[in-house]
Structures are given as C-alpha cells and as structure tokens.
C-alpha cells in the first residue's frame, strides 16, 4: 500500500503540475496573458453572468401563432384549388388544429379530396426519421365534410425551422450590440436562452430581442375612416390597425401587403434633411422596388401605411411614384429608437412572436462585489481549515494541506480546461470542497491513529489505515456525487455551476487523498532513519 511504482509517482506528479499550470492563467490578468508565449495555457475560468455581470433572457416562441398562420395559408391554398377545379364548397375555415370545409354536392367529395392533394407536400425527412411522409392529412367525413390537418412531424419540422431562424435573427440583432461572446441557444421544444455577458441594460436587450419586427407597407382604404367602418360595416379585404405612438388613433387599411420586410436589403438610421428628425432609411430588392413603384404610381395622392408588428408607424401621402426602391420611415423616433428599428429591419423579422418568460440581469458592480466577497470567504475559510488541520495532525497535517492546495489547483485547472462556468454558488462549492476535501484525509488519519493504538507498527498502521479507509471514502463520496449529478441534471445557470465545482471537487479530493498525501507519507517513511518510527499524529 505504501510502495509506489515509478510510473505512478511520475503520473501523480504530472497531474499535479498540470493542474497548477492550467490554474496559473487565472492568477494574472488577461492583458499580461496575451504577452505570454503560446505554449503556456491561456484559458481562464469562464465566469458566470452573476459574477461578471450581464443579462439573461429566456424566451418562448408562440407556437400557436405559427400554427394558425400556417392554417390560414392552407385555407387560402384550398380556396384556390377548389375555385380552379370549380367545386362548390361552404364553411371553409381554420379551427384549432385543422382547416375544415364542406363540399356542396356530396358526389364531388372524392374529386375534391383528390384535387386538394395538390397542396400536400412531401416532408424532407432525415436520417433519424426515415423518409418524411406528408405534411398534411386530408380526410373526408360525412355530409361532404373535408378536414385538412398538418401532421405531427410536419408541425415539429415547422417549429424546428422557426426556432432555427429565430436564433439566427436574434444572433444578428445581438451582434449589433457589439458585446463579446453572447450565448444564444435553444432550450427544450420552443425556448431560446439568450445570455449577454457584460451587458446590463435589459430594457434595450428586450427591445432588440423580443420584437417580432414584421414590417409591411399597405394602402390606406380611401372609401371611409376606421371609425366609420367600425360603426357601419368593414369593406371587404380591409383591417383596422392602431397607431404606434398616438393613443386612440386607428387606421383602416387594405389587407393586401404591397411589400414586406423580407424585400428589404438594407436599412440605416439617419436624419431627415428638412426637419432634422431621426428617420430610418431603407432600400428594397429589385422585385420589391418594382412592386412598390407600380403601386405608388397608381395611387398618387393617396396615403399608404408603414406597419410594424401590426401597429401603424406612419401613414404618409404618396406625393409622386417612388421608383428608385429607396425610402425613409419617419415616425416620432428618438435617435436610439431609429437606430433600434434600423437594426430590427436589417436583421429581419421573427417567424413568430416571443414571450420573455424569465429575465435575470446582474450589474457589473454587484458581480465584482460577489467575486471579492467570494475570494475573502475562500481565503479565510482556507486559512481556518489549514490552522485546524495543522493543530489536529501536526506533520501529517502538512501533507494533508499540501494535498488540499494541489486539490484547489486541480479544481481551478479543470474548470479552466473544461471552460465550465464559475458562478457564485460555484465559489461556494469550492469553499465547501475545501472543508469536505479534508474529510478523506481525516478518515485515513483517524484510522491510522486507531491502528497505532491497537499496537501496530507505524508502517503497518499507515498501510492498513489507507486500505481500510478506501471503501468508506468511496462510498461516502459516491453518494455526494449522486446528489451533485442530480443537481447538474435538473439545475440551470448558477446552480449548475455549483454542481460542476462540487463534482470536480469530489473527484479531485479523492484523487489527492489517495495519491498525493500517500506519496508524501511514503517518502516521509523512507526518510526516517530510526527503526522505531513514531507516527506523528
């Protein structure tokens, strides 16, 4: 138990040295780090948002919006098909999860189903799901009823695609903030986690990330006002939308969209040349420019509306045909508002709106305070433990303490290599490990004391002390590890950081107790000249 093969000695020493080497970059600041040769490890511990400050948003996509939008498209497609085939129908409308309609003549039902199959598309399919199958299921029921339902895999595919594009869009928007290393990732079915370190203006972040930014240009219905339409009857193909900045003002607009945000190729914040007000300039792509030119040519003297997320930003009157494909949006913008809108338009619209379901922001001052407090607690905790162990175990205590320092180096080194996130509870985990890591040595040393009292010689007492304590130490630490693993599995953010440092601490403290201190004790035994070695504990 006390003899070490040379390769074991070398590997224990190597692990300890590597641990210190990888932990070392954390002792110096990052500027000095850049000046060092490249073979020296550069990775520092990655600090969590609670320590370095930053914003954390958890967003949830409104899947229902996505589905109902799709159902409306299906309804329009179905209408076109049935008109083309000249099949009479009534009651065509989307329900919760399907589109239903009724064929007037029951004998037409079969041919209607056949014709409607035209709008069904094959799914792409993947390695995992095999060939895709269809995106819609068309069923005929009694009395000429037909039900068109999106299939489960098709819905999943839609949601996945929407989440992917949402993440891309959000990334483009967050990149505009110019912060370093934002973390944007999917969570679960329809959630997106956005973490922006060092950015503590959650309001601005939410304005950028949470906006759908669906931009449309629509004509204002000239035949009557919104108020009159509400009082009497809505003209066909129109809708009423509110103004974005004037409370109570409403516009009656034609539903048909002339051009939408998808046709924009660029947009920039700027100032109006005459009024010096902040505005947003934009440029259409060629097809957008053509359509916009044609409609403005036909509607000179009438107003059109610029609509963002179903609110009218402004409704200017068309003075002359706008043929160049460029234009500007002037609302009651502040400079920042114009800037944000330009970013939103450049980065594109989200496929569906997002709800912010969790928000946590830590300012840089609190983060710095937490780090300082954590450091003080760690140093004092360490000091207390060191003094206590020295008093309790004397010379062997020095071995245990050396092992403890190597242990801490290993934890920090491992955190640096794994680029695991260190959070405030994570620091607590390290401090707790300082207390608990000593446990393995305490178990061993107490066992050695017992063996000595039982009359064994130093060597056999130490040797059996180690071997008898092994099983206990493993059992005791595996149970703690189970708890840490469950924490990691179910926890999130700071809690997960705690679970990580706790688990790493358990592994390293078992390692150091069984190799580092044992190695030291074995060298100490060899160095004793006397034949009657007295265990100094």
């Amino acid at each position: 138990m006390l003899h070490f093969a040379r390769w074991k000695v070398i590997s224990v020493a190597a692990v300890s040295v590597l641990g210190m080497l990888f932990a070392a970059p954390n002792l110096i600041n990052s500027k000095m780090l850049e000046g060092l040769p490249s073979w020296i490890p550069h990775k520092q511990v990655h600090l969590g948002l609670d320590l370095q400050g930053g914003s954390h948003l958890l967003l949830e996509m409104n899947q229902n919006e996505l589905i109902s939008e799709w159902l409306e498209t299906i309804r329009d497609d179905a209408r076109n098909v049935l008109r083309k085939e000249k099949i009479g129908y009534t009651g065509l409308r989307p329900t919760q999860e399907s589109v239903i309609l009724r064929i007037r003549k029951p004998e037409d039902q079969e041919s209607a189903v056949k014709a409607l199959n035209e709008i069904v598309q094959q799914l792409q399919g993947s390695v995992f799901t095999g060939s895709g199958g269809n995106d819609l299921k068309i069923e005929g029921g009694a009395d000429g009823l037909i039900k068109i339902t999106p299939t489960e895999p098709a819905l999943t595919e839609r949601i996945n695609a929407a989440i992917r594009s949402t993440i891309e869009t959000i990334r483009r928007r967050v990149d505009e903030l110019g912060t370093t290393e934002p973390n944007i990732q999917r969570q679960g079915q329809a959630r997106i986690l956005v973490q922006v370190p060092g950015f503590d203006d959650p309001q601005k972040l939410k304005e950028l990330v949470g906006k759908t930014a669906k931009l449309t240009f629509q004509l204002v219905e000239p035949s009557m006002t919104a108020a009159r339409a509400r009082a009497t009857r809505m003209p066909p193909g129109t809708e009423i939308l509110p103004s974005s900045d004037e409370a109570g003002i409403e516009y009656l607009l034609k539903r048909r969209v002339i051009v939408s945000g998808e046709d924009l190729v660029d947009s920039q914040p700027s100032f109006d040349q005459r009024t010096n007000q902040p505005v947003v300039t934009f440029r259409f792509n060629s097809s957008g420019a053509r359509r916009f030119g044609r409609v403005t040519r036909d509607n000179v003297g009438r107003p059109f509306a610029i609509v963002l997320d179903r609110e009218v930003i402004s409704a200017p009157v068309i003075q002359e045909p706008i043929l160049g494909g460029t234009g500007q949006i002037s609302g009651n913008f502040t400079v920042e508002g114009a800037n944000n809108l330009a970013i939103l338009l450049r980065s594109g619209a989200l496929p569906a709106s997002l709800d912010i379901i969790e928000e946590r922001t830590v300012g840089p001052s609190l983060g710095a305070d937490s780090i300082a407090a954590g450091k003080v607690a760690a140093v004092l905790g360490l000091l207390g433990v060191v003094v206590f162990i020295l008093v309790a175990y004397g010379q062997f205590g020095i071995f245990a303490i050396s092992a403890l320092f190597i242990n801490i180096a290993l934890i920090i080194g491992a955190l640096s290599i794994l680029q695991a996130t260190l959070t405030l509870p994570g620091i607590a985990g390290i401090v707790l490990t300082i207390g608990m890591a000593v446990d393995a040595n305490v178990l061993i040393f107490e066992r050695i004391r017992e063996e000595v009292r039982a009359g064994k010689t130093a060597i056999s007492a130490i040797s059996s002390g180690y071997s008898r304590a092994l099983g206990t130490i493993l059992d005791a630490n595996i149970t703690t590890f189970i708890a840490a693993f469950i924490l990691f599995w179910l926890g999130s953010g700071p809690i997960r950081g705690f679970a990580v440092t706790l688990s790493i601490g358990i592994i390293t403290s078992v390692f150091t107790a069984f190799t580092v201190t044992r190695l030291m004790i074995s060298y100490w035994l060899k160095s004793q000249s006397s034949r009657n070695i007295v265990v100094p504990i």
Partner: protein
C-alpha cells in the same frame, strides 16, 4: 523534527448513544411534526423563483437609502404586494414585487415602471423577472430533484449494504430535509432555487456521514460476531466519533467563512448548509444508526466482502 498533532478527542469512549434513542427519536419526531405543521400553517416564504414576480436590487448613490421614501415612490405604481428591505448594507435595497396577473407580458412592465419611478438616482445592481410558466416549472423540478436524489441514494445504499441500512439512511435524510424546510418556514427565510441546491448538498453531506458510520458497523458486524447489536452500534459510533466531529468542524469553518464574508446574495444558501451540516451530523449518530436496532440487521456477512477484510488485514 517531530511536529505532532494534537489529538482533541478522547478515544475509546463508550457513550451510550443508542441507549438515548428514545430521547432522540421522540425529540426528532416532535421536531418533524413541528416542521410539517409550520410548513402547512405558516408556509415557506417562496422567492420569485417559485412564486413568479420581480426583484430589483438597487444601491443608492448618495448615502444610506431612505426606505420610506422608496416605498412612497413605488407604492403608488399599483403593482400589488411589494416588499422593500435593506440588503446587507444601508445603501443596498432589495425590492420584491409579487407576480402580476395577466400572463407573461404583464410581468415585464414591473421593471419598466420601477426604473422610471426611481430614475438615475440609484444604481441598478440586479433585476430578475420570473414569469408564471418558469416558476411553476422550477417548483416541480426542485421537488423532483430532491425526491430523485433521495431515491437514488436509497438504491445505492441498498446495493452497497442491505435494505435495513438503506431505510435507515433515507429516514435520516428525510429527517434532515424536513427539518430544513421547517426552519425556513419558522424563520420565514426566502426559499429559492439555491436553497434546493443547498438541500441536495445536505443530502450528500448527511449521507456521507451516515455511510461512514454504517461502514464501521458493517465492519464490526464481521469482526465481532457475538457482540450484542446495541453494544456494537455504540462501539461503531464511538469509534468514528472523532472523525465525525473533525470533518464537521472543518466543513463548518469553511461554511462560516462563507456565511460571514460571502455576501448577502448567498447568505440564505450558506445558512441552509450550516443548518444541514449540524442536523446531518446529529441524524447520522442519533437517527440512522439506532434505527438499525429497530429494523434489525443481517449478522452473517461472511459471504459478502469477506475477501476485502482479509486483504486489508495484512
């Protein structure tokens, strides 16, 4: 040079721990019933993690905060139940606002309103908004985490020892968890996500202690085949007593440093752990071990792990 350790604790003690079981069982039962009663009557002071709502930590820029003035400014915003309290320092204030009715979007307005009411006169240190969906999930996940941990441990101990040990360890754990929930109910300390983390760590720590005692019991069961069970349990607890106390002390030293110097944000978390270490140490000695006397244990361990004893004897 010889530098010998100071052996604090008397060895070869014969404290009759198991004999005190009726006292400890009665005492613990009363505490457990009291904890459950406190939980059911007073209830936990759930933080926004589990209840939903908003939280803002601010630091005033000029001198100590005037809580009354802050209350006047924020009270009129119509945000429902609001608590404003000093947080660790006289210029540090924590404002908590209850969950707003009206879904996820309504929660977002709280921070906007408070920020516009307070303006630039304060430094915004931390803002947190947890919507109804997330708080429900965190609640469920927290409960699942604690229950899963206890079940996992039950299975592990069963596998490594015997069912009696497994049951004893889990009884001690449930005891620790209930007493922690009890103390949080009585003291009305904020119960948030990090307290769940603390409870799980307590589960790990308390078990660590219990396993050390159980390990020694198992070893002594093999060694002293004729000794009475009560005597054997006492012997095992006494033999491991110095270790139990030494480890508790080092862990408590580290935790106290954290509690005093680690900052206000994790004070609740470290309090829970300190409580857990104390309760966990007690339950290993006074609950987990004596329970074996009630459950009874298998006395013949010759078939199991016998080889280990032989190899380690040399």
């Amino acid at each position: 040079m010889k530098f010998k350790g100071f052996d604090f604790f008397p060895h070869g003690t014969h404290y009759p721990f198991v004999n005190l079981r009726w006292l400890s069982f009665t005492g613990s039962s009363i505490l457990i019933v009291a904890s459950i009663a406190a939980f059911l009557s007073i209830g936990l002071n759930y933080g926004i993690d589990f209840q939903g709502g908003s939280l803002i930590e601010i630091k005033t820029k000029d001198g100590p905060a005037n809580i009354g003035e802050l209350r006047n400014k924020i009270g009129g915003l119509g945000l429902g139940d609001i608590t404003i309290q000093e947080f660790g320092a006289p210029d540090d204030v924590l404002i908590r606002v209850e969950r707003q009715s009206g879904g996820e979007k309504a929660q977002q307005q709280v921070i906007i309103k408070i920020r516009s009411a307070l303006g630039d006169s304060v430094d915004y240190r931390r803002t947190e908004v947890v919507g109804p969906t997330v708080s429900e999930e965190l609640k469920v996940n927290g409960a699942i985490a604690v229950i899963t941990a206890i079940l996992a441990v039950l299975i592990y101990i069963w596998f490594r020892f015997e069912w009696q040990f497994s049951l004893g360890a889990v009884a001690a754990l449930v005891h620790d968890v209930l007493l922690t929930i009890g103390v949080f109910s009585v003291l009305q300390l904020e119960f948030n996500l990090s307290i769940i983390a603390a409870i799980l760590t307590i589960v790990g720590y308390s078990l660590n202690d219990t396993v050390v005692v159980y390990d020694r019991i198992r070893e002594n069961l093999r060694k002293y085949k004729k000794m009475g069970l009560e005597e054997l349990l006492d012997l095992s607890i006494n033999e491991t007593l110095s270790r139990t106390i030494l480890t508790s002390v080092t862990t408590l030293i580290a935790l106290l440093a954290l509690y005093i110097f680690g900052g206000e944000v994790i004070r609740g978390f470290t309090f829970a752990m300190i409580w857990g270490v104390v309760v966990g140490t007690y339950s290993s000695i006074f609950i987990a071990a004596p329970l074996l006397l009630i459950f009874g244990v298998k006395r013949d361990w010759s078939g199991f792990g016998g080889a280990k004893v032989k190899s380690s004897a040399g």
